[in-house]
Symmetry: C2
Subunit: 158 residues, 2 copies
DNA sequence: CCCATATTGTTAATCTAGTAAACAGTTTAT
DNA sequence: ATAAACTGTTTACTAGATTAACAATATGGG
């Protein structure tokens, strides 16, 4: 036990210590779990893979072709100014196009390219694999329960 | 329905739209739920209340008096360099003291002040109230289940 | 006892994600 | 016609976090 001396009142393995006061809070557990899943996502998708938010944006563009930037921002729950860089990246990679909309010259409909659709399909499979592997100690039932409870939290926002 | 025109193929209320591909991922739901809880935490504790990470640090210092900065960082799962500002803030508010440790002149044990202990007790109550209110559509059973499932995710990290 | 190795707290530089405010152009509603 | 609202964007800023380096100190193996 490398770092422990006789006179040491400190805890042996601080990373595994129990923190009763904090662990009674949903928020704390939510954050810790989120950090774990997120960093595994990044690790799995790799250096020049999609960041989570870019993946999410691409997913919505593929599912809702002709969505606008504003609409996409609202779906993602972020400011539309924050979406510019994301759309820039996806357009720069040739995965979507900003296109004009006949009836309204303010908006630009976001349309996935063929390349964008296949890239999304692959990324989606990679993300599935990442979660299946990372969360292999949860049963399908447990995953479904977790989803539904997280959904209840999301439903508090309106 | 203000923003909808006859020719509009866009979705009426994008913020509430279903995003099937994304909602099948734990990570996405985890993040959305986390953002909701976190921002309600900040809103509830107010402008000059504790930020979540400061609250967590204070909690651990109160529960583990004489913990070191390094130990605290390990418990919180962050780099020790990142803890400096947090401890600075808590010490600046008079809620803890950096103290010398007789046996080891490298380390500084973090000791909560009396003020720190009472401030923590109050903050803890405020955080409890925030979660009770925000998550009032979850039963105690559901909260306990959620905790245990989040704990399973946290357990994947080791 | 010596020396390599490790640990502690800290600073500085950098990165990412996100917000807020302003903007010009455009559309809608009164 | 005019006020109000919406769109996409830029710019400036903030928060949170990481990495690398540092001096001071401590530990363990030979």
């Amino acid at each position: 036990m490398a770092s422990v001396r006789k006179t040491d009142k400190r805890i042996e393995d601080e990373a595994l210590v129990e923190t009763p006061d904090l662990e009674e809070f949903i928020g704390y557990n939510l954050k810790r779990a989120y950090v774990i899943v997120q960093s595994d996502f990044r690790r799995t998708l790799g250096e020049d893979g999609f960041a989570p938010r870019v993946f999410s944006a691409l997913s919505l563009v593929v599912q809702y072709p002709n969505v606008t930037s504003s609409g996409l921002a609202r779906m993602l729950g972020i400011e539309r100014s924050g979406l510019v860089a994301i759309v820039d990246e996806l357009e720069g990679r040739g995965l979507l196009k900003r296109t004009n909309v006949p009836g309204d010259r303010r908006v630009q409909a976001l349309v996935p390219t063929a390349k964008g659709k296949t890239a999304y399909a692959e990324a989606r499979a990679a993300v599935r694999a990442h979660e299946d592997r990372l969360l292999s100690n949860l049963s399908d039932d447990e995953k479904a329960t977790l989803m539904s409870l997280l959904g209840k939290i999301r439903a508090t926002e309106a």
